[in-house]
């Protein structure tokens, strides 16, 4: 029996937990900076590999964009960032660990996306046949065209984009050579050269359908007329019809990752802002926290933060080659951010005159657009820093997750739209809430009268909650041809290794990007294990192996 406490307590000098609390110095194998989805996934694999891991989070809660918070206080929770999970069918992290018994459960509503365009309802469903039925209300030809398009996109996502999300990027020439091996690969190469508008306009579909598809393809930050980003169209359209909802809120996904980390001996520190990456000679050897604590990393430091924070703020000036620093300086942030108004309401909002309604609830409802050209013009003016009108998408989360409202009979829902960072948000806050309420009241029965509380979160608020989302960049940096693929965040670091020995980058600003893909974290852990000659704890999924066998039968080219 020991009682090591009575000798130090009470400590009249000040800190009553002295000698008990987390030490000033701690040593581990790997330090992961940032406990967003990628940091957590990286830490989960590294811990499961048997490495000693510490993951550090600045906020009071882990999860980053996987945040479920009671901002409609008291009693109403919302997912303040990620709500739609696009990659649940591909993310190895979800099947490599038994996350279900750690509390994770996804729902995939059938009515995925309703485009209400100028009074016409377009219904895109998880079930292709239900989508085709919705198209067929115009003509059976539309249904056939849509079906062909959906199938084409599915093949590209299933065969190429899905699995490639979890493998390091190749050099463009290597990739072109590889994709040229199959018709699907060739199709994907051809698509990539085009813009979203060009791709969609090839289809002879009603304007309201094309408008809905364009919004789905571009809403998270793709310029509709920019060439070279065409691969995002099959990805976002296909995944836009396969979105999943994390029951209990998106934070549940972070919690289930955290459970695996802890069960494998990893440590999670929240309220632990990293102030600097510390060097041992030329090697990254740990971090110093804002409170002065030091975590020494014997083997690796992984940063899931944006390139400017990692390379310009945390790393000593002489640690990285000048070129990396100047590339970080010229990093561009998302071309637009999001503005959300979260509501608590009495009763579930019911869409007025819902056309072709199926049983169940609609996941995402697009409102406020007139036609295809209007979507293009809207996004382009948002990109210029304007808010031409209130138009965007709506979701009643509590329809799928009653745990979000702790008040019987009440629901939570949000309206969200692409929005510029540079905008007088504080001055126009009340006005915008009123305009959003007007729009929703026009479409949902008795909406205005049912509102209990409303909170607007502008791009400024996104940045304040998650400073890593600079200028409200939900993807940690713009999606454009020079910041994608092996150029994300730059050609030297896109495979997660950096020019600094021992330092890896594995956040949304690293290939393949943000949106809770879970790619950078998975690839980062893989790379660290490879460099340490330490076995990776799981095999590739079948989809990844098929992709490798098909396109890289001789193995991935060494970068």
């Amino acid at each position: 029996m020991s009682d090591d406490l009575s000798s130090v307590y009470p400590n009249l000098a000040g800190n009553p937990l002295e000698g008990i609390e987390f030490p000033q110095e701690h040593e581990t194998d790997c330090v992961v900076i940032g406990a967003g989805p990628n940091g957590l996934i990286a830490a989960m694999y590294l811990a499961a590999a048997g490495l000693d891991v510490v993951i550090l989070e600045r906020r009071y809660e882990i999860g980053g964009g996987l945040a479920t918070e009671e901002i409609l206080f008291p009693g109403h929770l919302v997912n303040t960032h990620a709500t739609y999970h696009f990659m649940t069918d591909y993310m190895p992290a979800l099947t490599d660990f038994d996350l279900g018994t750690r509390g994770l459960r996804f729902h995939k509503p059938n009515m995925q996306l309703r485009g209400r365009i100028n009074g016409d309802d377009v219904l895109l469903c998880r079930s292709l046949e239900d989508s085709r039925d919705s198209m067929a209300r115009g003509s059976i030809k539309d249904a056939v065209t849509f079906g062909d398009m959906a199938l084409r996109f599915r093949k590209i996502v299933d065969g190429v984009l899905g699995p490639a999300t979890y493998l390091p990027p190749g050099a463009p020439l290597d990739l072109m050579e590889a994709l040229d091996r199959t018709p699907v690969g060739q199709d994907m190469l051809a698509l990539s050269e085009q813009s979203a508008v060009e791709i969609l306009q090839e289809y002879s579909l009603p304007d309201s359908t094309l408008a809905t598809l364009l919004y789905a393809a571009c809403q998270w930050g793709i310029s509709p007329q920019e060439s070279g980003m065409g691969f995002m169209v099959p990805l976002m359209v296909d995944r836009g019809m396969q979105k999943a909802y994390s029951y209990g809120g998106s934070h549940r996904l972070a919690s289930s990752f955290a459970r695996v980390i802890l069960e494998n001996g990893g440590l999670i520190l929240d309220n632990a802002e990293v102030a600097a990456i510390e060097m041992d000679g030329s090697r990254a050897a740990g971090v110093r926290l804002a409170d002065g604590r030091r975590i020494h990393a014997r083997k690796a430091v992984l940063s899931s933060l944006d390139p400017q924070t990692t390379f310009l703020r945390l790393l000593p000036e002489d640690a990285a080659p000048k070129e990396i620093r100047s590339q970080a300086e010229s990093w561009t942030w998302d071309k637009w951010s999001l503005m959300s108004v979260f509501f608590s309401v009495r009763g579930k909002p019911t869409l007025r005159n819902a056309d072709g309604n199926l049983s169940g609830d609609t996941f995402e409802t697009v409102l406020g657009f007139d036609d295809f050209d209007d979507v293009v013009a809207f996004l382009e003016s948002v990109e210029r820093g304007e808010i031409p009108k209130i138009a965007g998408h709506f979701t009643c989360e509590s329809a799928f997750d009653k745990t979000l409202s702790q008040v019987a009979g009440n629901h939570t829902c949000f309206f969200q739209m692409p929005a510029p960072y540079d905008y007088p948000w504080d001055a126009r806050r009340d006005e915008i809430v009123a305009e959003v309420t007007d729009l929703l009241d026009a479409h949902f029965d008795g909406f205005r009268a049912s509102v209990v509380d409303a909170v607007l979160e502008s791009p400024h608020e996104i940045e304040r909650r998650l400073p890593n989302m600079v200028r409200g960049s939900i993807k940690h940096g713009d999606y454009n041809p020079v910041q994608m693929g092996n150029m994300r965040p730059n050609t030297d670091c896109s495979a997660t290794r950096t020019a600094v020995p021992g330092l890896y980058v594995c956040g949304a600003s690293t290939y393949p990007g943000g949106m809770v893909l879970g790619g950078p974290g998975y690839i980062g852990a893989h790379t660290v294990c490879e460099d340490l000659e330490h076995p990776f704890p799981r095999e590739y999924t079948r989809g990844i192996n098929t992709y490798l066998d098909t396109y890289f039968p001789d193995g991935l080219p060494v970068a």
Partner: protein
């Protein structure tokens, strides 16, 4: 002792099974508040399989933080951690799981409407000022004779402080049936040894009588009385002087907040439990404790939307981290006597229903009472306004005798906590966050109906702003940027175990304390159903996230389970004052 589960085959990628339809653990813990989580961590670290089932979307119970507006971290419930003397800190190695302290050097002060004020309760102990009667006399606004008595008392007690705290909080209550007397109480044993001037009569005093015996004047005296009232022991209830005094000292000696707020304390406990293999589920409401042959053998979880109905078997025991008043609803009536159920129903809800306002402010209050110079650069984190005995009695009369919230501004005795003063992470630059507490009646008792306080919340806030302005003239209305109110009724729907919106479960009265808390047959955490235990802040010694109830419970579980007593780990040490049933029964 691994958990056994009957896995349902995975249906499709990404569609994991939440809980197997049937599963079994050694212990099932109902409720994921600080006490349930700590019990889980103890048992998991001891080597048993444990499952925690929490009805809410988040673990931690009252140890929660929220960021309702970006950059503003609020404490809807608990604000301070007083449990530095808790054995659990070292036994569970909570530091290893991330616990860090944000030390509150100037715990706070109090001010009365006549302009007198006292500041610096924290550093006056920490910096040793309390040992100099002349300095102390000046700080407290008392004569040298009074301050000498205080210094003599504190100097005698200080070397015994850890034992003093643990003899009250971190020791299982004695069984009333053993027939022990007041002078057998653990803290009586400690005080008898520590204080040369100890008198048995101290054990009968109310806290107010003790403060009067020391000659302490207002506002300091009422500050101390409210310090006790606002944490459990009622300052005017007979026999509660020592527990009430102890709670003040817990504040002065242990005062800190976990870095980031109280939810960080919950995180360290959760992470300790998970690292030792505990399973913890949220949104998992338990509807029934399964009883077979008079023994609790598991629970039924029922959530019609996601978890569906699940039966979770408990091979060894079921531990309820729920309010004592929820016990009869979870156990089928035939297993409990009508007398027991009636006495549970009769337990008072009075004593801790708080109207809480979390306020985002653009300036911190600059209190202008006399004595302002005492705080200097060291901003007082806590502050009691209207700190006079009369005002406290007026408020108590409103709340407990007239069953209404106060309407007279003079009765608004407010307790303010400015966490952003010692923890810069709580608010953005240029802003602060204030938590304000005001005692109001439990909704069930309110003469104007259960939603009376919610309906009046706008008027109540107006008065609160006025009273703050009275003491801090810089706090004009425009300085309050945003306010989030959490009434007792809100607490009840946000957190079902806050019955009555009571923050620490039940009041601290001698007839509901120690061997009688919450009822004599529940004092040692056992219930009328075999292998069913109550481990909640309605159990002894009550709330405050002291990690005391589960530590105490572990003593009882060792008596009840050979598997536990025969596997005592090296890190465990029991209370010095613990008496086993076998020993107690022979007295």
């Amino acid at each position: 002792m691994a958990a056994t589960t009957e896995q349902v085959p995975v249906r499709s990628r990404g569609d994991g099974e939440v809980l197997p339809r049937r599963s079994s653990f050694d212990f099932v813990i109902v409720g994921g508040g600080p006490n349930g989580l700590t019990a889980a961590a103890y048992l998991a670290k001891w080597g048993f399989s444990v499952c925690v089932l929490e009805a809410r979307p988040e673990l931690g119970g009252g140890a929660e933080n929220h960021e309702p507006s970006p950059g503003f971290s609020i404490d809807p419930h608990a604000s301070y951690f007083y449990g530095a003397a808790a054995p659990a800190l070292s036994q569970l190695e909570l530091g290893r799981y991330g616990l860090r302290a944000s030390t509150v050097t100037n715990f706070g002060g109090c001010a009365s409407p006549d302009g007198r004020g006292f500041f610096g309760a924290g550093n006056f102990f920490h910096e040793g000022k309390a040992r100099d009667p002349e300095v102390l006399a000046q700080i407290m606004g008392v004569s040298l004779d009074v301050s000498k008595v205080f210094v003599e008392f504190m100097s005698a007690l200080e070397p015994h402080m850890t034992d003093f705290f643990r003899s009250i909080y971190w020791t299982p209550p004695y069984d009333e049936k053993w027939g022990l007397t007041r002078s057998d109480l653990p803290w009586a044993q400690v005080l008898r040894e520590a204080l040369p001037f100890f008198d048995e009569v101290m054990l009968e005093w109310s806290l107010c009588e003790m403060m009067n015996a020391m000659g302490l004047p207002d506002p300091f005296k009422t500050g101390l009385l409210v310090g006790s009232w606002g944490n459990g022991p009622h300052p005017f209830h007979k026999g509660m002087a020592i527990p009430g005094f102890a709670v003040q000292q817990l504040m002065f000696y242990s005062n800190c907040t976990p870095v980031g707020g109280m939810h960080a304390l919950a995180h360290s406990i959760i992470r300790c439990g998970l690292a030792h293999g505990a399973r913890m589920y949220v949104n998992a409401p338990v509807t029934e404790v399964l009883v077979e042959d008079g023994r609790a053998v598991g629970v039924r979880v029922d959530d019609e939307t996601a978890l569906e109905e699940k039966t979770i078997r408990a091979n060894m025991g079921v531990i309820l981290n729920t309010h004592v008043k929820q016990l009869p609803g979870l156990v089928s009536g035939s297993h409990l006597s009508q007398d027991f159920v009636q006495r549970v129903d009769d337990l008072s809800l009075k004593g801790g229903s708080l109207f809480v306002a979390n306020m985002a402010v653009s300036e911190l209050p600059q209190y202008t009472s006399a004595g302002r110079e005492l705080h200097g650069a060291d901003y007082p984190v806590g502050m009691l306004l209207h700190s006079t005995e009369d005002q406290m009695l007026d408020l108590m009369r409103d709340v407990y005798s007239l069953n209404t919230h106060p309407t007279d501004p003079d009765h608004y005795q407010l307790w303010l906590i400015v966490h952003s003063a010692h923890d810069a992470t709580r608010a953005p630059d240029g802003y602060g966050v204030i938590t304000m507490n005001l005692q109001v009646p439990p909704p069930e008792d309110h003469r104007d109906g259960p939603d009376a306080v919610n309906k009046a919340s706008g008027e109540i806030m107006e008065t609160i702003y006025d009273v703050i302005h009275q003491y801090a003239p810089n706090m004009t209305r425009d300085k309050f940027v945003k306010t989030w109110v959490n009434t007792p009724q809100d607490s009840e729907f946000r957190n079902m175990a806050f019955v009555g919106g009571h923050w620490w479960g039940m009041r601290g009265s001698e007839d509901e304390w120690f061997s009688r808390k919450p009822l004599p047959e529940l004092a040692r955490y056992r219930t009328p159903v075999e292998s069913l235990y109550l481990c909640h802040q309605t159990s002894y010694p009550g709330g405050l996230c002291l990690l005391a109830v589960p530590y105490n419970l572990m003593h009882i579980l060792q008596e009840d389970y050979e598997q536990i007593s025969s596997t005592t780990p090296e890190w465990w040490y029991p209370s010095k004052w613990h008496i086993t049933d076998a020993e107690g029964g022979t007295r």
